[in-house]
Symmetry: C2
Subunit: 528 residues, 2 copies
């Protein structure tokens, strides 16, 4: 114990130069805790505007509404930036119902998958169990689906939830999170296999769409990925103009899906009625937009930038309150706080609210590759044919004009839980810096810096090209049990105090990064 304490002091001593402006931190905390606007912002975004599927009318409303807030607060350079690649078509839905008519009449709980067509009024037909997961499956059911409502996957047995839905980190779990498992090598064969699997899945989706249309099916249904009546729903059909959008397709509560499948197992003729009011909002592919605003730097490093961001797009079953209205509201609130406390940062502080995160980090990937850098296109034609996220090689980094200007990127996208620390993404040099920055927030529960990588959100777009991009460690709450991509992702599952805490920390991190002598240290870029 004595030795450990001595080492800790020594490490502390080595980084004694990392100073935090505690009077600015106090002002930020006061503004965040006592005059918070984070809940009205989140309510405006999620309840007034609603869910924000990429390129939907609601997403356009959200772009406009966030710009208007930024202008209201006196931020600079407020604008939307279109992605280079057209994203696809917009889509929205207004209502959806499914009913069993026989063997007994009762309502089924289901919602449409995004980018699948509506039904133009109620349609009725017999249900059929037809697992459609390969070309062989399509051959098997050829000629058998006309006028049918097709249940395209097996029933899925209920899995008891043996842990509490709601989960906060404690001292032990936070300590555990600071250990790192050295990653095992993936063999080239395993990599190739995984790539092949994903490629096949990509090829099969349009094939299935066209098959169901050409067979004259009425609708398709798959089971929700979660139990307890929760509807976990994302996309289907196709957002790309010119591609088959397939049939009206719904995700149904596992309990109701299984009820239909059991009736079919008993050879009971199952008759259903489905009615989905949904439509595409354009015939052609349209660009998607990131929304951007700044507090301009006023010091020697004004040409350098600290970026904070969160994705504004969401899935459509709930209102995207935790994923990622919470992140957006916290990032907006951090900018508001910095303006309100009269921050005059050395570097420019920029907020970017990303689009298309749910479809593959599209907004941040576009932004980073255009402004900061990207990997060279692969020469291997097999690799080149794949979308970037399916490739197994990276190539060489090609920095763009502003690659050297990025001091830091901070992201928030693990739901509405308060911040407990930061993932350092194996960039060890930032650890003492973040520890110093977290210290004034230890009392509100933010304590750890872990070397672990975390993925699946927009800091990855920065991290992979060697820019110092970070995502915070958050309390899970019910994010990964009930809320993520589900119909329960609504304001009720948000804890206001947690968002206040997070907005103070983000504002403080952005300010510290903007005032620091040096940009945040970078780690080596992994190139092939």
């Amino acid at each position: 114990m004595l030795l450990a304490a001595a080492v800790a002091m020594l490490v502390g001593g080595l980084h004694a130069e990392e100073r935090v402006d505690l009077s600015m931190t106090s002002r930020i905390r006061q503004e965040a805790f006592a005059k918070s606007q984070v809940m009205p912002l989140l309510e405006g975004l999620t309840e007034d505007i609603g869910p924000r599927l990429t390129n939907s009318p609601s997403m356009a409303k959200a772009n406009a509404w966030t710009r208007s807030k930024f202008n209201e607060w006196g931020l600079s350079n407020v604008h939307d930036e279109a992605l280079v690649e057209p994203f696809g078509r917009g889509w929205e839905f207004r209502s959806a119902s499914a009913e069993m008519l026989s063997p007994r009449a009762f309502p089924l709980h289901a919602l449409p998958k995004a980018w699948t067509p509506g039904t133009t009024g109620p349609v009725e037909g017999e249900a059929i169990a037809a697992k459609l997961e390969s070309k062989a499956d399509l051959d098997k059911f050829k000629g058998k689906l006309k006028g049918k409502i097709v249940f395209i996957a097996d029933a899925r047995a209920y899995k008891p939830g043996e842990k509490a839905d709601w989960h906060r980190e404690d001292d032990k779990s936070l300590a555990d999170m600071q250990s790192l498992a050295v990653p095992a090598d993936q063999t080239p064969e395993a990599k190739e296999e995984a790539r092949e699997r994903r490629r096949k899945r990509m090829e099969f989706a349009p094939m299935l769409n066209e098959f169901l249309v050409s067979e004259g099916a009425l609708a398709a249904v798959s089971p929700s990925g979660w139990d307890n009546g929760i509807l976990l729903v994302s996309g289907g059909g196709s957002r790309k103009a010119g591609e088959s959008v397939g049939m009206p397709t719904l995700a149904m509560s596992a309990e109701h899906y299984n009820t239909v499948m059991r009736a079919l197992d008993r050879k009971a003729p199952v008759r259903l009625r489905v009615n989905v009011d949904a439509n595409f909002t354009s015939d052609t592919d349209q660009p998607a937009y990131n929304t951007i605003a700044e507090i301009p730097g006023s010091g020697a490093h004004r040409d350098e930038v600290v970026i904070i961001g969160a994705h504004m797009d969401s899935w459509h079953a709930g209102t995207g309150a935790a994923d990622n209205g919470a992140g957006v509201a916290v990032m907006m609130e951090a900018m508001r706080i910095l303006k309100a406390v009269g921050a005059r940062p050395d570097r420019t502080i920029r907020i970017v609210l990303w689009t298309g995160e749910e479809q593959g980090l599209l907004g941040s990937a576009d932004y980073v590759s255009r402004h900061f850098g990207k990997f060279a296109e692969p020469t291997d034609p097999k690799e080149k044919a794949l979308p970037a996220f399916l490739r197994t090689t990276r190539g060489k980094l090609e920095p763009a004009k502003d690659y050297g200007k990025v001091a830091a990127y901070f992201n928030l996208d693990n739901g509405g839980g308060k911040i407990r620390g930061v993932y350092a993404q194996q960039n060890m040099a930032v650890t003492p810096i973040f520890e110093a920055w977290l210290k004034p927030f230890n009392d509100v529960g933010a304590t750890i810096v872990t070397q672990r990588d975390t993925g699946s959100t927009d800091h990855v777009s920065f991290d992979r090209v060697g820019l110092p991009g970070f995502q915070f460690v958050q309390d899970d709450l019910d994010y990964f049990t009930n809320v993520h991509h589900s119909d329960l992702d609504v304001l009720d599952h948000i804890v206001p105090e947690d968002l206040k805490q997070a907005s103070a920390i983000v504002a403080s991190f952005a300010y510290n990064a903007a005032m620091r002598q040096e940009k945040l240290p970078r780690k080596a870029v992994l190139e092939d």
Copy 2:
């Protein structure tokens, strides 16, 4: 420790005469575990027939279907017995939908309350927040509800589920369950207050129904009592011919209810569409029926009876799989097992599948009072005016003809979890008997006899008149977290192995009670 062990031996010694026929127990276990029919029975009852609201067409189907099974198995005296008091009207629903049309369009998750009218097609109107819980509330909203869809309760904040949804007893919780808290006295004032509160609630319900109709409201909505989108729904309106059935009334998921309430708080005009296809199945009050069958006794005590039972009626949101399809299937299976193993009991073993349990143990109360005994009507006119379950005095017991003939009653109605023991209802003399009977089932997890009383189901009708009526201790599973009276009460949440275990234990208990030298000991009747 030494002393305790000695006492235990002595107690054990005192009851050494309690013998169990272990070769019959083996045969019962083999039949129950290896040739079980309990899941097909439960599937037939819940998935083919559906939910079984008292006096609904499905309940009548269930009466007929269970009789046909009993006849098929060669049981005797198979019949339905009508309750003396007409229960009321039947009701059923086929579909229900609710949609928000503005400020943004999306589907709302809701189901109708039983015994409320349908809408005769889709109706549209503005939502209004009108908490209606007292006469003063009615006065406040007089003249303001015409054409409105009335949200009759406050929004209810989300409460995080901090325990696992799924719960089995362990050694510690089973040990804890064997301690008894000596009940505290309730003062006469507190009793009177509680009675007054219940009386007022009873009086208010029809007043609210009539008010909503006379004001010309379109529909009424209240929030589900559970979170996470679960619909906890029971009855509303009125089942009694001649009484106002009120408006079409729905229970809405808390998350969606709160969304509407928040929009109203923001002064956003909220327009909804509601469509409920529901109807009453008769104009006049009809009797409800218990279903009865027997394995006749063939010994000296053939005129005495061991009864096993469970309530067949259910609420309508799910299929009543855990409440109480599970109990019914287990009791039926116990009878089938006893026939299959060729049991020739001394006493008669009777199964009674109760009706109207969810409306106040109506089936069992009627059966017990008619055949076995009841308390004298109160002379106090205030008491007399109240239904029996609201009275605070009992009066004197008036035994009926067969009061002396009941050897035991066993009930199962705490969901689909396996049996962990028996509630002795403070009848200490049964403890060593049940301990001996449970011993051959210790290895499948049934171990404890607790002196605790448990209530809220049909053994109470026996227990309160001094008959030895018992309910088993069961693993909760997700019964009290997700399933009880909710749309999740469907087959998916049932564990087949648990029902097999329970059916073996029930068959064995029934057999032991039918073969024992004496009827089960009785405790004193508490009279006023």
